[in-house]
């Protein structure tokens, strides 16, 4: 669905009072994302994951220096096409809960998202309500302001906003941060459902543990470079199926990793998690 071809991103900064320098945030990144899959992009903070999301959406600051190419459904995805597809074909579930406007009621914000996706205003009202109902947000929550919602509810509102647009490619940026296990699983399950509907979901997270149960593919990022892309099933046992030392180390560093091949399966079966880091 989306193909990234040798994408590099540089951002300017001021090395001293008058010298402008460029720092490389993403380097020669190439990756295909297919429909119907959850593709997890995992890396420590500062690895360039969020910037990757912004590069795909075309939301980088104008000063950013971008090379390489993006293809969406085999057509080059340039500035103009990004502008056209944003909110319609491409959706972003942002990392920060501050992305909800504190002065606008939830239902209205979701309706705006629907309008921006091209729905006429009366239909947008309706589909907003439907989307919010779908994510189990009751009438009271729909009429609430953002600060009146819990973290989990706010996450689901953001997911509903991506859902209402009927976008085919959904990028979820750290959707599980700050959620308790129950809420986290709900949000992750919602993403899995979106993928099962034939959409392509890019799950950006720093936490390999939470990504594995729902991901089909996992890409490990480090310092803006792509370390390894493997299927989720490669992350088991001693990690011998992984080719790169960093991803192996990342895998082995997990606190619940007791070298048993059943760890992930077990984790998937019991909603109550053994480890709350």
């Amino acid at each position: 669905m989306l193909t990234i071809d040798r994408l590099s991103l540089q951002l300017p900064f001021y090395a001293s009072w008058w010298r402008r320098d460029w720092t490389t945030c993403i380097e020669a990144f190439s990756l295909p994302f297919s429909a119907g899959e959850v593709h997890a992009v995992v890396g420590a903070s500062g690895a360039g994951k969020s910037l990757l999301a912004y590069a795909i959406m075309g939301l980088l600051p104008p000063a950013a220096r971008l090379t390489g190419q993006l293809f969406y459904q085999d057509q080059p995805l340039d500035d103009a096409r990004q502008r056209q597809l944003r909110g319609r074909e491409l959706a972003l579930i942002p990392q920060s809960l501050n992305a909800l406007d504190p002065l606008v009621r939830i239902h209205r914000q979701v309706a705006w998202a629907a309008q921006r996706a091209g729905h006429p205003s009366t239909i947008a009202q309706h589909s907003a309500r439907q989307a919010l109902d779908h994510y189990q947000l009751d009438a009271r929550a729909q009429q609430a302001f953002a600060h009146e919602l819990s973290g989990g509810m706010a996450r689901r509102v953001l997911t509903a906003m991506a859902h209402v647009s009927q976008a085919q490619l959904i990028i979820a940026d750290e959707p599980t941060v700050g959620l308790d296990p129950l809420q986290r699983n709900r949000v992750l399950a919602a993403l899995r459902t979106l993928a099962d509907q034939g959409k392509s979901v890019i799950l950006i997270t720093h936490d390999l543990r939470h990504a594995l149960p729902i991901a089909d593919q996992v890409t490990i990022m480090r310092d803006g470079k792509q370390v390894e892309t493997a299927s989720a099933s490669a992350f088991q046992g001693t990690g011998s199926a992984l080719t790169d030392a960093y991803s192996q180390a990342l895998w082995l560093a997990l606190p619940d990793n007791n070298f048993s091949p059943d760890v992930i399966r077990a984790q998937e079966q019991t909603p109550k998690e053994a480890n709350i880091a």
């Binding site: 959406m57 939301l59 502008r83 597809l85 944003r86 909110g87 319609r88 491409l90 959706a91 972003l92 942002p94 920060s96 501050n98 992305a99 909800l100 406007d101 504190p102 002065l103 606008v104 705006w112 998202a113 921006r116 996706a117 302001f145 600060h147 009146e148 906003m161 647009s165």
Partner: protein, 329 residues
């Protein structure tokens, strides 16, 4: 938020307001007492030389000038509460009448300039902030920065030079043609005399609100809310219209109420240049000719005017902003 909480909030503000006004009375009375200008000389004016020392003591006794300051203050405060602000020797009228008449004329100037500057400033700030870095933004920002540094009276002088002296479009002076009674002046003439002062005062007030609104808009445009909206395919103008309007309007209204003092200060200067017979001009006359009761009365009156504005500004947030509503227990 329920009505009881709002009432409580307003009651608290009103109490504070009263306290502040009392302080203003104390401070301005103290300043008057500290003045080296002899109140008896000031009262007598040019007749000073015709009065014997015995008569002076009589005057001092009559007006209580010989009593200690604290007693005088108590006396003045008691009069104040009963509504008597004293006698203005410059206008030979009770102070309350002078203030009433003058304020009626000033309110047209103040109100017009206030509305105009708030609306214009907000609009300009919104546009500039939404289109940050564009040519339009640069023009608006430059204009705002320059007017923020412009001396009010100089702008008024320039306006008189250009529109009244050179072009002859507007009259140079006063609230109506000289020599006619104020009752005979038509509304059109009044407006004709008002238009230049109002515009000048408004142009000066615009800068503040424009820059403030623009800053708010820039904050919003860089916030997560805007990024999220852009990710949904919104254009800059749409974000400005839907999110920006909400985020910037409350601060702008607040600022408009909070800047009444500055507006009034500007009106003193403008009235002086245009010889507009309003409260500002009376203030200058009272100060220059040592009309202490009038000066005190005006200080208190404007303090009331300004602190009511400040109180409204403070209270608005508590009542309107949904985030604060929930924050109250």
């Amino acid at each position: 938020m329920d009505v009881r909480l709002i009432t409580l909030l307003i009651a608290k503000r009103l109490l504070r307001l009263t306290l502040v006004l009392l302080c203003v009375a104390l401070v301005s009375f103290g300043l008057m007492m500290a003045s080296p200008i002899d109140p008896i000389d000031a009262y007598l004016g040019p007749q000073m030389a015709q009065v014997s020392p015995e008569q002076r003591t009589l005057i001092a006794q009559r007006w209580g000038f010989d009593e200690p300051p604290a007693v005088q203050f108590g006396h003045w405060l008691r009069q104040l509460v009963s509504g008597d602000l004293g006698w203005s020797h410059v206008y030979n009228q009770p102070v309350s009448e002078v203030i009433g008449q003058r304020f009626q004329r000033s309110i047209a100037l103040l109100g017009g300039a206030w509305l105009l500057s708030a609306l214009l400033g907000f609009g300009l700030g919104l546009v500039a902030g939404a289109k940050e870095g564009s040519a339009l933004d640069r023009v608006i920002s430059t204009y705002a920065y320059i007017t923020a540094s412009t001396p009010a009276f100089w702008l008024a002088i320039l306006a008189v030079l250009l529109f009244s002296v050179t072009l002859g479009w507007t009259p140079t002076c006063c609230a109506g043609p000289t020599g006619t009674l104020s009752q005979e002046v038509t509304l059109a003439t009044r407006l004709h005399h008002l238009i230049l002062p109002v515009t000048t005062l408004a142009l000066l007030g615009v800068a503040n609100i424009t820059l403030h609104t623009r800053t708010r808009m820039l904050e919003l445009m860089r916030s997560d809310v805007a990024t999220h909206a852009f990710a949904q395919g919104a254009s800059r103008m749409e974000v400005a219209w839907r999110h920006g309007l909400r985020h910037a309007s409350l601060p702008a209204i607040t600022l408009a109420f909070a800047s009444l003092g500055e507006l009034f200060g500007g009106s003193i200067l403008i009235e002086q240049v245009f010889a507009y017979p309003g409260l500002g001009q009376a203030t200058v006359a009272a100060g220059l000719r040592s009309d202490i009761p009038l000066l005190l009365g005006i200080a208190l009156f404007t303090a009331l005017f300004v602190s009511v504005g400040n109180t409204i500004a403070d209270t608005l947030y508590g009542i309107i902003d949904p985030r604060i509503k929930a924050g109250e227990p």
